[in-house]
Point group: C2
Chain length 462, copies 2
C-alpha cells in the first residue's frame, strides 16, 4: 500500500478541519454545451463517467486516520473507492438562474467533507438557464492549493472543441514534483523554527508597510457561523490590464484596489468603516519553476487595501507601494528559506485557529485576496466550452470573507466566499467591485465601459 506523509502545511489543513470551519476549497465551472449537444448531454456525461473504474493519484488517496490531532497525517492509496459517493448529479429548479445556482452552491460549500472518504467531491449540475450546466468540484485543502487544484481541473478539459471523449477528472494524474536540489529538501523542525523566527522579524521591520499588527477590528472579523454564502463577479482581462498599465502597477494591485473599494462602501453602509486601512492576506506561490504538483506551496504576504482612502487612484498607489515592499521581502528569500517562510507566514493564523482565539482577539488581517493564474485559451469538456471558473475558498473565525480570482480565456473570475450570518447582503460585494473598477477607470482618465456580464452575479442571499 502506497503511503505518503503530508508536508507540515498540507497537514495543517487536516488539523484545522472542524465542523463549523471546514477546510475545503472548490471550483464552480460554468459550461456552454456544443450546439448539437442533444438534450441528454449532461445525463450521458454523468452516465459515462459512472462507468469509469480507473482512478489516479491524488484522486485515489485518503487519510490514514481522520483525526485532527494526529501529528503527522498520512495519505494512503484507496483500493476500492466508492465513486457513486464522490460523483453526484444535481438539477437546478427553474428558472435555473443565478439565484438558484447561488443558493445551491452556497449549501454545497457549507457542507463539511467526510474526512474518512477520498478528499474530493464532484457535483454535475444541470438545469441552468440558456441550456448551460455547471460542475462544482470540491477538494480538501490538505491535498491541493489554488494552483494544483486548477492544474488538476484543467488537465481534465481539452484544448479542442472537437474532442468529444474527455475522461473524468479523476483519471488525470497530477504532475509529479520536479527534481529538487538536495538543499531544497524538507528542513528539520528546529531549522524551520529558526528560519520562521527570522522571517517573522522580517514582517515586523519598521520600513514595511505591511506588518502583522496593522489590521483594525471590523464586523467581518469576529466569530463566524457554520454556513456560507457565495457570490461571483467577472471582468474583462483587457480592461484590468489597461487600468494596471495606465497606473503603472500590477494587475494584482488593481484587484486589491477593487476589494478595498467594495469593502469601503460595504462597511460605510453598515457604519462600521475603521479610520485605518483594512489589510489583506495575499497568498503568493512559492513553487519552483514548472512545479504543478499537488499539495500546498504557498506563502502569505500582507498588504493594506486602502479602505481609508476615498480617491481610487490614490488608493491604488498606496496599495502598490505596500505590495512592492512585501514582494521584495519574499523574492529576496533564498530557495531554502521558502518552506520556512511559507510555514512562518501561516503559523500565526494557524496557531490562533488551533487555540480557538481566532475571531476573539484583534484580527491579524481583514480578508484573504488571492489570485490563481489560469490559461489564455478556451477549454472544452466534450465540446462544451468552459465559460467561467469561479473559486470558492475557506473562511474562518476572524476572517468571514475571502476573495479568490482565477483568470481564464481573457476574463478574471472572482469567487467571493463569506460566512452566511456575518455577510447577509453579499451581492453588494460583487457589485461593488464593478463600481470600484468604474471609479478607478474614471480617475485614471480611461473610458469606463462596464462589462454586461459583470451583472452575472451568483448570489445566495435574497
Amino acid at each position: 500500500m502506497n503511503r505518503t506523509k503530508l508536508t507540515p502545511l498540507d497537514a495543517a489543513f487536516v488539523q484545522l478541519e472542524s465542523p463549523g470551519v471546514p477546510m475545503h476549497v472548490a471550483g464552480l465551472m460554468i459550461f456552454e454545451p456544443p450546439a448539437k449537444g442533444g438534450a441528454d448531454f449532461v445525463r450521458t456525461l454523468v452516465s459515462d463517467w459512472r462507468k469509469e473504474t480507473r482512478i489516479a493519484a491524488p484522486w485515489n488517496q485518503k487519510l490514514e486516520s481522520p483525526s485532527r490531532w494526529q501529528l503527522a497525517p498520512c495519505l494512503k492509496t484507496c483500493q476500492d473507492p466508492d465513486l457513486e459517493y464522490h460523483l453526484r448529479h444535481l438539477v437546478l429548479p427553474k428558472p435555473g438562474g443565478q439565484v438558484e445556482l447561488g443558493q445551491l452552491v452556497a449549501r454545497l460549500h457549507s457542507q463539511p467533507m467526510d474526512m474518512r472518504k477520498l478528499l474530493w467531491e464532484c457535483y454535475v449540475i444541470e438545469g441552468l438557464a440558456e441550456n448551460r450546466f455547471a460542475i462544482y468540484m470540491k477538494f480538501h485543502h490538505s491535498i491541493v492549493d489554488g494552483i494544483s487544484a486548477s492544474v488538476l481541473l484543467m488537465k481534465g478539459l481539452s484544448d479542442s472543441a472537437k474532442d468529444r471523449k474527455t475522461s473524468p477528472f479523476w483519471i488525470q494524474t497530477a504532475p509529479e514534483k520536479p527534481f529538487q536540489p538536495a538543499s531544497f529538501k524538507m528542513p528539520s523542525v528546529p531549522a524551520m523554527l529558526g528560519a520562521a523566527n527570522n522571517v517573522l522579524k522580517l514582517f515586523g521591520r519598521s520600513d514595511s508597510l505591511t506588518t502583522l499588527r496593522s489590521a483594525p477590528r471590523t464586523p467581518l472579523n469576529g466569530p463566524i457561523g457554520a454556513q456560507r454564502r457565495f457570490a461571483t463577479q467577472n471582468f474583462d482581462m483587457t480592461r484590468l490590464k489597461a487600468t494596471a498599465k495606465t497606473a503603472g502597477v500590477s494587475l494584482n494591485d488593481v484587484v486589491l484596489c477593487l476589494v478595498g473599494g467594495t469593502l469601503r462602501k460595504y462597511l460605510q453602509g453598515i457604519t462600521a468603516l475603521p479610520t485605518e486601512s483594512l489589510t489583506a492576506a495575499v497568498p503568493m506561490s512559492l513553487r519552483a519553476e514548472g512545479d504543478l504538483s499537488p499539495g500546498n506551496s504557498v506563502g502569505m504576504i500582507y498588504s493594506i487595501i486602502g479602505t481609508n482612502v476615498a480617491d481610487p487612484v490614490l488608493r491604488l498607489k498606496k496599495i502598490s507601494q505596500a505590495t512592492n515592499v512585501a514582494k521584495q521581502q519574499v523574492l529576496g528569500l533564498e530557495p531554502e528559506m521558502r518552506v520556512p517562510y511559507s510555514i512562518a507566514s501561516f503559523a500565526p493564523a494557524i496557531a490562533r485557529m488551533l487555540t480557538g482565539v481566532s475571531g476573539k482577539k484583534k484580527p491579524m488581517f481583514n480578508a484573504v485576496v488571492s489570485n490563481v493564474p489560469g490559461g489564455r485559451d478556451d477549454k472544452y469538456l466534450r465540446g462544451a466550452r468552459l465559460l467561467h471558473c469561479y473559486p470558492a475558498n475557506i473562511v474562518f473565525p476572524g476572517m468571514a470573507t475571502s476573495f479568490t480570482c482565477y483568470s481564464h480565456a481573457g476574463t478574471l473570475n472572482v469567487g467571493i466566499t463569506a460566512c452566511r450570518d456575518t455577510v447577509p447582503s453579499m451581492q453588494k460585494l460583487a457589485l461593488g467591485m464593478e463600481e470600484a473598477l468604474c471609479e478607478l477607470e474614471h480617475g485614471l482618465g480611461l473610458e469606463a465601459h462596464a462589462n454586461p456580464r459583470s451583472l452575472d452575479v451568483v448570489e445566495a442571499a435574497l
Copy 2:
C-alpha cells in the same frame, strides 16, 4: 424572550449530537399532484411558502447554546428566522426514479444539522417519475419523537382534496401538553435515579425473555461511518392485519417477525448469522391519553426477533411471547413511574454513546424497530394526495440499522436507515421483508399475494 428548559430525554439528543452521529429524524412524503395541478404546481407551492412570514412553536425555537456539554439545554424563541435557509427546493435528475430519489435522500439524511439554526429543514423535491413530488422534512430528535413529528406533519395537510390553500408546516402550532396531575410532574433527580434503579431491576428479572444482556455480536453492531443509506418498503395494512389475526398476535409482532426474517437472510448471506437470536429495541409511547405535544415521551422495550428460528410461524410465536412479557412490565407501571422508566430504558445506551464505548463492546440490542401510528384517512397538500410517508431514523455506533414504520391510509410504510459502509447492499433488507411476509402467510395457510408496490424500493445503493 420565551425560554424553555428541555426535559432530560429531549436534552439527551442535544448532548449525543456529534458530526459522525447526528441525532435527527425525518419523514419522506411522496405526493401525487391533482389531475389539473398544472406544470408549475411545485414551483408555485415553494414560491407561496417563501412569502409566508408567520412561524409558530416549536418551529421557531432554537437552542440557546449549541454546546453538547451544557447540562440543561434551553430552547428560545427566534425572533428573525432565516426561512430561506430552512425551506429548500430541489429537483431530481431524470428519470426521477427510486434510485435517484434514494441517492438524494441518503445524502440529505447524512448531513448533520446546524445546531445554531432552527431545528428543522424542509426539502421540496420535484422531478419524480409519474409527475410526483416529495417532501423530505428533517427534525432534530431533541424537539420531536416519532409521534409528535407525525402530528406536526399531518397538521400541515388537509383532509380534503378540495382545500387548495394549505399553509406551510411551520404555521401549524403543536398541541400543548395536556393538563398533568400534580403527581405526574417532572420528578427530582434523586427520585428519578431511584425509580430508574427499580426499573433496571425489572429488566433483569429471570422470567423476562428480554433482558438487556441478550444481544449477540453481528457485523451490524460495530463502529459506523458518517454516511447513511435509506431504503423503503410498504405493505397493505389488510394483509398485515389478516396475518396478525390468524396468528393471534399483535401487528407489531408481525413487523418484528418480518425484520427478524430479513435480518436472518441478510446475515446468512454474509455468513454472519449468530446462533442466538438478535434482539430489537422497540420504542413504546408513554404519552398520556391525548398528549400530542412536541418533545420525547417514549420508553424502550427489548425483544428477541427470532433470527435463529427458520420457521416463520414459530418465530412469530416466540416474538409474541417475548413482547407480551415486556409490555406487561411497562403497562404495569404507575403513571409517575413512566418518566423514570423512559429515562432508565434509554440510559444505558445513552451512557455508552457519551462515553464512546458504543460499537466497541458487546451490543445491548441489534436493531431499533419502531412503529408510529398514523391515520386511516387520505391527506392532501393543496389537492396533492399523500401516497406514502416513510420515516428516516437515527443510527449510531453499535446499531448500524434502524427499521421505522408509519401507518397511513391503509398502508404500512417502512423506512430503513443504515450506515452506508456497514450495510452496502441494503436493497436486500427491503426486499427481504416482503419475502418474509410471503413465507409467514404461507406458513399460516393464508394466500400470499405480494403487493406490486412492495417493489417500490427507494434505494441509494447501486
